[in-house]
C-alpha cells in the first residue's frame, strides 16, 4: 500500500531530514513511528500526504507513483487518507458536528449524506452527546477524538496521525490509541507518530524507529532488532477483535 524506495528529503534550507529510507507498509497494518525530536518523523508523514515531495527516490501509494501524479490528482490521493494533528486543528467557531461535517463538505458530499454519516462517526468516538458543543468547551482528549472523527468521516484507507497523543493526558492517550486500534481492526491502515514508549510497548504493533533521518529499527524487518521487538507474525495475520467496527461506505 505504501512504498518508500530510497527516499531522501533535503529541505530548501539545506536540512537533510531523511536519508535513503526504504519502507514497505501493507494494507491493514498498524505502524508506530518513533524517534527523537528532529529525527524526520513528521517529514516521513508529510511525504505520504504529499505535503512535501522527496528530493530523490520514489514513493508508491496504492500502486500509484507519487512523482507521476499531476497536481490536480493530489486531492484525490488525499481522500484516501485521514489526517490527525497533534494540535487537533479544529475550527473554533464551528460546533463539533460542523467540524466533522466540514471534511465531508470539502469533498462535495451531499447534505443528506452528511446528516447521516456525521452522527454515526461521532458515536464511534464516543461524542454523540457533544455534537452541539464548541471545541473550546471540550477537554483535550475529546478534541482529539473530534479530530479523529473528522479524519474518519470520509472513510479513508489510511489514517495518518502525527503525535495524536501529544496534547492529551496519559489516560486519554491510551483511549485514543485504543480507538485507532479499533479502526485498524476493520482494515484501515494506521500510521502513528508518538513519543510515548509506554503506549508503543502496550499495543504490540509494528514499530519503525527513525534517527537523524535514517530508519534504524523496524520490528517487521527481521534483520533489525529493537527494544520494541514483538512477534513478527502478529502483523501478518489479520486480527479482528470481538468488538470490530465496520464503517458503512
Amino acid at each position: 500500500m505504501i512504498d518508500f524506495d530510497n527516499i531522501s528529503k533535503t529541505y530548501p534550507n539545506g536540512t537533510h531530514a531523511l536519508y535513503d529510507v526504504n519502507i514497505h507498509i501493507d494494507k491493514g497494518e498498524f505502524v508506530f513511528i518513533v524517534g527523537s525530536s528532529g529525527a524526520g518523523k513528521s517529514t516521513f508523514l508529510k511525504l505520504i500526504m504529499h505535503e512535501e515531495t522527496p528530493t530523490s527516490g520514489e514513493i508508491t501509494i496504492n500502486g500509484k507513483k507519487i512523482s507521476k501524479l499531476k497536481r490536480r490528482e493530489i486531492p484525490y490521493l488525499r481522500r484516501h487518507m485521514g489526517i490527525v494533528f497533534q494540535d487537533f486543528r479544529l475550527i473554533d467557531k464551528m460546533n463539533v458536528f460542523d467540524n466533522v461535517a466540514f471534511a465531508m463538505r470539502a469533498v462535495g458530499e451531499s447534505a443528506a449524506t452528511i446528516k447521516k454519516r456525521v452522527p454515526y462517526v461521532l458515536d464511534l468516538v464516543g461524542l454523540k452527546n457533544k455534537m452541539k458543543d464548541k471545541p473550546s468547551e471540550l477537554s483535550g482528549g475529546e478534541q482529539q477524538r473530534v479530530s479523529l472523527a473528522r479524519a474518519l468521516v470520509n472513510n479513508p484507507e489510511i489514517i495518518v496521525a502525527d503525535e495524536p497523543t501529544g496534547n492529551v493526558d496519559p489516560e486519554m492517550s491510551h483511549e485514543i490509541i485504543e480507538l485507532l486500534n479499533e479502526i485498524n481492526a476493520r482494515g484501515t491502515t494506521v500510521l502513528v507518530v508518538t513519543h510515548e514508549h509506554e503506549l508503543v510497548r502496550e499495543f504490540h504493533q509494528r514499530v519503525i524507529t527513525i534517527d537523524h533521518g535514517r530508519v534504524i529499527g523496524d520490528t517487521k524487518d527481521k534483520g533489525v532488532l529493537s527494544d520494541h521487538d514483538v512477534d513478527d507474525d502478529y502483523n501478518d495475520v489479520p486480527h479482528y477483535p470481538d468488538n470490530a467496527v465496520v464503517l458503512p461506505d
Binding site: E51, R72, R78, I83, A106, V107, G108, A111, N154
Partner: protein
C-alpha cells in the same frame, strides 16, 4: 459542481464577514463604472447631436441689422438663384424670438421682447451637401449677409471636445480598473488570510483547487455584481438631472435614459463580474500553490 449551494453560501458569508473591505471594493469599482458610463453616455449623445447637425441640409443665413425688410426680400431672391439652393424661408427676428421662447421658456425672454437684438435670417436648404463650402462662400458674397451659421464647424468642435473627453476618460478608467482589480485582489487576499486555517484543513482532506477557490471567486463576483447594481442606480439618477441641467443651457434633444439603460446595466454587470473574477483569481492562485503549514504561515 457538487456542493455549489454550500460554496455560494460560503462566498456570501465571506462578503459579509469582510464587509469593510467589501464596501471599499464596491466604492472603487462603482466610481470606475459610473465614470465609464458617464463618458460613454456623453459621447453617444454628442455623436447623436453631431449626426443630426452635420446631416441637416438647413443652414441659417443671418442678415446685417441695417437691412430693411424690402432689401431682405431681394437678398432672399439672390440666394434662391444659386445653383445648389433648393429653397429659402425668411425667419424674422420676431419669429426667431418666438422659437427661442418655445425652446427655452418664456420668462427669460419676456423682458427683452421690446429690445430684440436678434438679426433677421433666412433658413436655406441646400441640395448637395458636398458643395456646401462653395455655396456658403457664394452666399457670403451677397450684400447685406452678415454671417452664416456653419453647422459643420459646430459639429467639428463638438466631435473634438467629445474625443478629448473620451481620451481623458480612457486614461482615468484604465487607471481605476487597475485600482479596482488591485483592491478586490487585496480584499480577497484578506479573506483568504482570515480563512487560512479552514483552507489548510480543506486541502488536507482532499478538497480540489476549484472547490477551495469557488467561495472566493463568488465573493469577488458578488462584489462586482453589487457594484454594477449600485452604478446602474447612480447613473440613472445622475443622467436625468445632468441632462436637464445641460439642456437648460444648450437646447438639444438627448437620448432618453430608457433607450440606453438596459445596455448600460448589462455592460456594468459584465464589467463588474470580469473585474471581480480577475481580482479574486489573482490572489487565489498564489494561495493554492501552498501546502500544509505554509498556508498557515507556520
Amino acid at each position: 459542481m457538487k456542493g455549489f449551494g454550500y460554496l455560494a453560501k460560503e462566498g456570501l458569508k465571506n462578503v459579509w464577514n469582510n464587509r469593510i473591505m467589501s464596501i471599499a471594493s464596491v466604492c472603487v469599482l462603482v466610481s470606475c463604472l459610473v465614470l465609464t458610463g458617464a463618458a460613454t453616455l456623453f459621447s453617444i449623445n454628442v455623436a447623436q447631436v453631431v449626426e443630426s447637425v452635420g446631416d441637416s441640409n438647413e443652414t441659417t443665413v443671418y442678415l446685417k441689422s441695417d437691412v430693411s425688410r424690402l432689401e431682405a426680400v431681394y437678398i432672399g431672391k439672390d440666394i434662391e438663384k444659386l445653383d445648389n439652393v433648393v429653397s429659402t424661408t425668411f425667419l424674422s427676428k420676431e419669429d426667431a424670438l418666438e422659437q427661442y421662447k418655445d425652446e427655452l421658456g418664456d420668462e427669460l425672454f419676456a423682458q427683452i421682447e421690446d429690445r430684440n437684438t436678434l438679426p433677421d435670417a433666412f433658413v436655406v436648404v441646400m441640395e448637395d451637401l458636398s458643395m456646401y463650402d462653395k455655396t456658403v462662400a457664394e452666399i457670403k458674397n451677397i450684400d447685406g449677409v452678415d454671417s452664416i451659421n456653419d453647422h459643420r464647424e459646430l459639429a467639428k468642435k463638438l466631435t473634438e471636445i467629445s474625443n478629448l473627453i473620451n481620451i481623458i476618460c480612457v486614461g482615468v478608467v484604465t487607471a481605476l480598473m487597475i485600482i479596482s482589480i488591485f483592491i478586490i485582489a487585496n480584499t480577497i487576499r484578506a479573506t483568504m488570510y482570515s480563512r487560512r486555517f479552514e483552507i489548510s484543513i480543506m486541502k488536507s482532506v482532499g478538497a480540489t483547487d476549484s472547490f477551495v477557490r469557488m467561495p472566493f471567486l463568488i465573493e469577488g463576483v458578488v462584489i462586482g455584481i453589487v457594484s454594477a447594481v449600485v452604478s446602474t442606480g447612480a447613473i440613472s439618477l445622475l443622467y436625468e438631472s445632468v441632462m436637464s441641467a445641460i439642456t437648460g443651457m444648450i437646447p438639444f434633444s438627448y437620448i432618453p435614459l430608457t433607450h440606453v439603460i438596459l445596455y448600460v446595466a448589462a455592460a456594468f454587470a459584465l464589467a463588474g463580474i470580469v473585474v471581480g473574477f480577475f481580482g479574486s483569481f489573482i490572489s487565489i492562485r498564489k494561495y493554492l500553490k501552498k501546502e500544509g503549514n505554509e498556508i498557515l504561515g507556520w
